[in-house]
Structures are given as structure tokens and as C-alpha cells.
């Protein structure tokens, strides 16, 4: 039987080994909330209570780790992340051009645009937070500042996870991890500092800056290039101007090349949409690996 809530959680974790890490994190958060609340209530009713006996009754009502784990897996099978789709086998042209109907591709594009803004913010926040925290550590009030900063990193990681799940369709945690409940704040700071997850999150925030810029530049470049190719015939015909300008002279594309130019622009953008979908999937996996603690 279980002597403490932590023991139950460990058993639940073992039971959920192999299922999605984010799902496990949710299940642990729920169990922690319920069992601790039930224990507090039981203690209020009867002060001289034997905790082990009380926990036995509570766990009896809550369900064994095995039952709880299977309930989560059952429900998860029925609700999948919003953008997840059933994989259909299709011929490659259908897959290539079908990208326009694929929400994941549009989601990935949107994510890549947003990553530019969030990336800059994460970077600024991380660099400011780290330098302010470290330099204030010589004062006593540096410690609470460092704690607040590290907690904010956790919060931002959760937020980023929600964004990744909504736009890239990769299952991410829906609950924060509260593993330091009831600790003194200095111990809490120590726990955060020694937790590998905190550092991975910080690294993610910094890497996101570079990735955000690359994504943004790629979108803007390819989009403007594709649109220019498509626009050439219209510019030449309606504005009556050669599309190539060099040394004060204008050159025109011949009329027979118009369909080819439009086709090239369209194909370029379609190819990029396919690449963006792939990048989205890769980034989702990367985010999961960096932000979700096992």
C-alpha cells in the first residue's frame, strides 16, 4: 500500500510508462491535486489521524494507479489533439498539392510567423532574467528575484507548449508541474536550479530566437519570390513595363513564358508549404523533447 502521496504518484508514473509524456504529466497533476486535497480534508475532520490509514481509504475511492492510468489512456484515445489527422495513403501529387487543404501546413506557417515575435521576446526575457538574477545574487533580495525568474520560465514553457499543440498538433502538457509544493522558497529555488528541465527550457528560449528569425526570413523570401514570379505577366501587360531592370534599361519576358512563370511561382510556394509542414513537425518534436519532462 502507499504511505505517502508521492509513493502513489511514483506508482502511477511507473504504470503510465510508455504512454505520452504530456498525458502522464496531466495525470500526475490531477492525482496530486485530488489526493492532497482529500488528505487535508481528512486531517481537518480528525486531527489525530493516521495518515497511512487515511490515504488507504482515499486511494480506495480514487482508484489504483493501474485503474487511473487506464482511464487516462482510454480518454486520450478518444480525444486527440485538435490538428491531428488520420493518415491516409495517397499518391505523391495528391499529397504534394493537397498541402493547401492540410491544416497542419497552415498551422506550421502561422507558427513560423509567430515564432519570430515570441522568439525575440523569449530571448530578451531569458537574457535579462539571467543577467539580473546572477548580478543580484550578491544581495539577499537576489534570491527571490532568481526564483521568480525561474518560475516565469516554467510558465512561458507551458504557454509555448499550448501554442505548439494548437498550431503544430503535437500533444503538449496542459497543466503546469507543481512538484515543489510545501517547500521553503530557498529549497524551491534549489530544486528549480538543479532540475535539468529548467535549463532545457532556458536553452529553448534562446534557440527559439535564432529559429524564429530563420523561419521568418524563409517565409518572407519565398513568399515574395513566388508572388513576384506570378505577378510578372500582369506587371508587363497592364503596366506596360519590362519586369527586368538593369542599368537604366528595361527588358521584358516574352509572352510565351507567362504560363511558365506563373507555374513556377505556384510550384515554388507549394513546395515551400510542404517544407513548412515538415519543419512544423520537426519543431513540434524538438519542442516536446526540450519542454516536456519525463
Amino acid at each position: 500500500m502507499f504511505n505517502t502521496v508521492e509513493e502513489y504518484l511514483d506508482a502511477l508514473k511507473a504504470e503510465m510508462q510508455g504512454s505520452d509524456a504530456a498525458l502522464m504529466q496531466d495525470a500526475l497533476a490531477d492525482a496530486r491535486e485530488h489526493l492532497s486535497t482529500a488528505l487535508v480534508v481528512a486531517r481537518e475532520k480528525n486531527a489525530g489521524l493516521n495518515e497511512v490509514d487515511a490515504l488507504k481509504v482515499i486511494v480506495d475511492e480514487y482508484g489504483t494507479p493501474e485503474e487511473t492510468a487506464s482511464a487516462y489512456q482510454e480518454v486520450e484515445r478518444r480525444t486527440s489533439p485538435s490538428l491531428k489527422q488520420t493518415v491516409k495513403s495517397q499518391s505523391w501529387p495528391a499529397r504534394f498539392f493537397g498541402v493547401y487543404a492540410d491544416v497542419r501546413a497552415w498551422g506550421a506557417l502561422l507558427y513560423m510567423l509567430i515564432a519570430f515575435i515570441t522568439g525575440v521576446f523569449y530571448f530578451a526575457w531569458a537574457v535579462t532574467g539571467v543577467s539580473v538574477s546572477i548580478s543580484f545574487l550578491i544581495f539577499i533580495f537576489g534570491f527571490p528575484i532568481a526564483l521568480l525568474f525561474l518560475l516565469s520560465v516554467r510558465g512561458l514553457a507551458l504557454l509555448e507548449g499550448r501554442l505548439v499543440e494548437a498550431l503544430l498538433g503535437v500533444r503538449m502538457p496542459r497543466r503546469p508541474l507543481f512538484s515543489h509544493q510545501g517547500m521553503k522558497w530557498l529549497d524551491r529555488l534549489k530544486a528549480l536550479l538543479t532540475d535539468k528541465a529548467t535549463w532545457l527550457m532556458l536553452v529553448y528560449m534562446i534557440v527559439q530566437f535564432a529559429l524564429g528569425i530563420v523561419y521568418f526570413v524563409a517565409i518572407v523570401t519565398v513568399l515574395s519570390f513566388s508572388l513576384s514570379l506570378i505577378a510578372i505577366p500582369f506587371v508587363q501587360e497592364f503596366l506596360d513595363q519590362g519586369a527586368i531592370y538593369n542599368n537604366g534599361l528595361r527588358y521584358s519576358f516574352p509572352i510565351w513564358s507567362y504560363p511558365l512563370l506563373i507555374l513556377a511561382g505556384f510550384l515554388l510556394w507549394t513546395t515551400f508549404m510542404n517544407i513548412a509542414r515538415g519543419i512544423g513537425q520537426l519543431h513540434g518534436r524538438f519542442a516536446k523533447w526540450m519542454l516536456v519532462t519525463e
Binding site: 495525470a27 491535486e33 475511492e61
Partner: protein, 118 residues
């Protein structure tokens, strides 16, 4: 465990899969205040102590999936003792779904009762 009790357990589980969503929606639609998991579990226990239909732990994933589908909304609030609690509230979509679900439940109940009596 014998095969029959195993089948019975499975049957119970399948029955609960549908009814628990209905029950949770109803409880939250009746409540004026947002409620957290433990509160809901206690309420269910008090309103039907003679039927311990489901383990309390199975309510949480259902709550979560209802929220995922937009029928409930939730927010986390710190508590005086213990970890923060997630409070659930029914949404407009949830109210609409509940109305339809109740109708389905009435039909199902009538149908099953008729067959069983017959």
C-alpha cells in the same frame, strides 16, 4: 479473477464512459460556482452513496476531455493548503450539449427499459 467478473467490469466501464460525461455536465450546470475535481467527486459520493459506480480518479480525464472539446472551461487557482486547484465551469456549448444529451439519455432509458420489461 474469473472471466465473468472481468466481463462485468468491462461492461461497467463501457456504461460509465458515456454516462460520466453526462453526469459531470449536469453537476456543473446546476452549480452556480465553478467546482474543482475533489468537490465534484464528493458531491457525487454524497448524492448516491449506495452506488460507487466509478473510481474518482476516472472523473479527471473525463473533465479534461470535456474541456478539450469546449464544453467546459477551467482555471487554476492556488489553494491555502496543498497544490493549486483546477476549477471547472460549464460553457454555453456545454449547456447546449447537455440539453441534447439529456434527450438522448431519456430516449435510451425508455428504450432499454421497454426491452428489459418486455
Amino acid at each position: 479473477m474469473s472471466d465473468i467478473t472481468l466481463q462485468t467490469k468491462k461492461f461497467q466501464k463501457e456504461m460509465n464512459a458515456g454516462t460520466s460525461s453526462l453526469v459531470l455536465l449536469k453537476v456543473l450546470s446546476r452549480s452556480k460556482e465553478p467546482m474543482y475535481g475533489y468537490q465534484i467527486a464528493k458531491l457525487l459520493e454524497e448524492s448516491g452513496p449506495e452506488f460507487p459506480m466509478m473510481k474518482q480518479g476516472t472523473l479527471y480525464p473525463v473533465l479534461r476531455s470535456l474541456e478539450e472539446n469546449g464544453l467546459l472551461s477551467s482555471m487554476v487557482e492556488p489553494s491555502v493548503s496543498g497544490p493549486p486547484r483546477r476549477y471547472y465551469k460549464i460553457t454555453e456549448d456545454g449547456q447546449a450539449a447537455l440539453k441534447d444529451w439529456l434527450e438522448i439519455w431519456k430516449q435510451t432509458k425508455k428504450f432499454v427499459d421497454t426491452i428489459l420489461k418486455g
